[in-house]
């Protein structure tokens, strides 16, 4: 879109340049080489500029690459939480089944899960039925402890003061403590408790029949001392039961299928001649 004035000007300039034009003349690079040679200007500075440019391009690429890798490996958390009294069953990506008791949380990094290891973090109480995979160990982290398995089922109960692990099938490694690591290997039927205060572990070979009652909705007692019965009931119904009669050495054998607490207490009081009274747990 050139107007006449511009066209005239162009014609004039073109003629001027064409008139003066000489093949191969006004070669800027050649002129600079001549000039630099005469004035003893070394080329290194010139090269340095290119080096700097190349280096900055390289650094930029490294930066982008790093960002990309970091971004790709950035964990993407999946978290599952249960309300108090709610029981939830969760399948992890490798079809490991987690049964979560009320007031528990579970989280895992969906990007990293199953890549080299299968790692979940949890608090509260959960029962794991782990899909067997010997190349990718499964581990559960709680605030203080770590449970590592290949493929078993086990219960983790994390309470503020202690963490308890009960093994139902297979074999697990239970480790705890930051500065002074304690480690035990538990097999089926064994359980271990790590106390935060004592910073130590206690292992018991006795199986507690009611570890999974929150899941099975069944309370079983087989010649169980009254003390333990009260403990299990407290746990299951989330209450605080006191015995107002003196009958210390009583033992109970019974099965309750998700009965209301009142009925359970009535049955026990009649059978063992006790006076168990429940007060809701604070």
């Amino acid at each position: 879109m050139m107007n006449n004035e511009q066209e005239n000007k162009f014609e004039k300039r073109m003629r001027f340049v064409a008139h003066r034009y000489k093949e191969g003349a006004l070669d800027t690079n050649k002129a600079w080489e001549q000039f630099a040679a005469r004035k003893g200007i070394r080329k290194s500075v010139f090269l340095l500029r290119y080096w700097l440019a190349a280096a900055s391009v390289f650094l930029l690429l490294v930066g982008i690459g790093t960002f990309y890798i970091v971004d790709r490996n950035k964990p993407e958390w999946v978290a599952i939480t249960t309300a108090s009294g709610q029981v939830k069953e969760v399948f992890l990506p490798d079809s490991t089944l987690v049964s979560m008791a009320g007031g528990s949380t579970l989280r895992y990094d969906i990007k990293g899960y199953g890549k080299e290891r299968r790692v979940v973090e949890m608090s509260g109480k959960a029962f794991f039925q782990v899909k067997r995979n010997e190349t990718r160990p499964f581990s559960v982290h709680t605030a203080l402890t770590e449970v590592t398995v290949l493929g078993t089922s086990f219960l983790v109960n994390e309470r503020p003061a202690a963490t308890e692990v009960n093994v139902v099938t297979g074999k697990v490694r239970f480790s705890a403590g930051q500065e002074e690591e304690k480690q035990v290997v538990l097999t089926a039927g064994m359980s271990a408790v790590y106390s935060k205060e004592e910073k130590d572990m206690t292992i018991s070979k006795e199986e507690n029949l009611n570890n999974l009652s929150w899941k099975t909705k069944q309370l079983r007692f087989d010649d169980t001392p009254l003390e333990q019965v009260i403990k299990d009931l407290n746990d299951y119904y989330q209450v605080k039961i006191t015995n107002k009669a003196k009958s210390q050495n009583a033992r109970l054998t019974a099965t309750f299928n998700d009965l209301p607490l009142d009925e359970v207490l009535m049955v026990i009081n009649q059978t063992l001649d006790t006076r168990l009274v429940a007060a809701p747990e604070k």
């Binding site: 879109m1 073109m14 003349a25 006004l26 630099a36 010139f46």
Partner: protein, 213 residues
């Protein structure tokens, strides 16, 4: 047309002297001597100097070509001016506006050169043209001329030859066709393409400067 005022050679000298006086006046503003004691290093780094050299070499040569006929003379003048600036730089003389200074210096040296030369064929025509354009306009025009020069440089060999025979040597299309053993049609065609390329170059500069689509 200023052209008519400068056919007499005595007038030419007068004109040159006026230009030189202007230049000397400017010179006072250009130089600020650096008081720092460190004399080993140049004020402008050699890398920066190279950048300036490469950016302005062609425009300065084309500016010189307004005064001198030969490209050799123009290149000599520009080399001398750069050498002078480099020496100043090494001696820590700071030049406030290096671009403006370079153009002024090229003008001055070119004028000196043609004043010394006995060849009366030197083009006074362009001197007259310079008189009524501003310093910025002169620099801008030199830069545009440099682009046109580069555009001619970039033409394919055959097309360039035809273009130069026509515009530089003033041959008619028929004469070019005869000399190169081509048809007139081919010459016309090649000329059209050459002019289009140069016009594109010029247009790009206009668009860049005035934002004309």
């Amino acid at each position: 047309m200023g052209f008519f005022y400068f056919p007499v050679w005595t007038d030419k000298y007068k004109y040159i002297n006026i230009l030189k006086f202007e230049y000397l006046q400017r010179k006072l503003i250009y130089f600020v001597t650096d008081s720092s004691e460190n004399k080993s290093m140049a004020t402008i780094s050699s890398g920066e100097f190279e950048r300036i050299f490469k950016e302005l070499y062609k425009p300065l040569c084309l500016f010189a070509l307004r005064f001198t006929e030969k490209t050799e003379d123009a290149e000599d003048v520009v080399q001398q001016v750069f050498a002078d600036v480099w020496d100043k730089n090494v001696n820590h003389v700071v030049i406030a506006n290096i671009k403006s200074y370079l153009f002024q210096a090229v003008r001055n040296r070119s004028l000196t050169l043609i004043a010394q030369s006995t060849d009366m064929q030197q083009t006074t025509e362009f001197l007259a043209d310079l008189e009524d354009t501003s310093e910025e306009e002169q620099m801008y025009q030199a830069e545009r001329d440099a682009r046109l020069w580069s555009a001619i440089d970039g033409l394919p060999a055959e097309r360039k030859k035809i273009f130069l025979l026509s515009k530089r040597d003033g041959l008619k299309y028929q004469e070019i066709a005869d000399e190169l053993h081509l048809s007139v049609k081919t010459v016309e065609n090649q000329m059209g393409k050459a002019l289009k390329a140069l016009r594109e170059t010029a247009k790009r500069i206009y668009c860049f400067l005035f934002g004309v689509a």
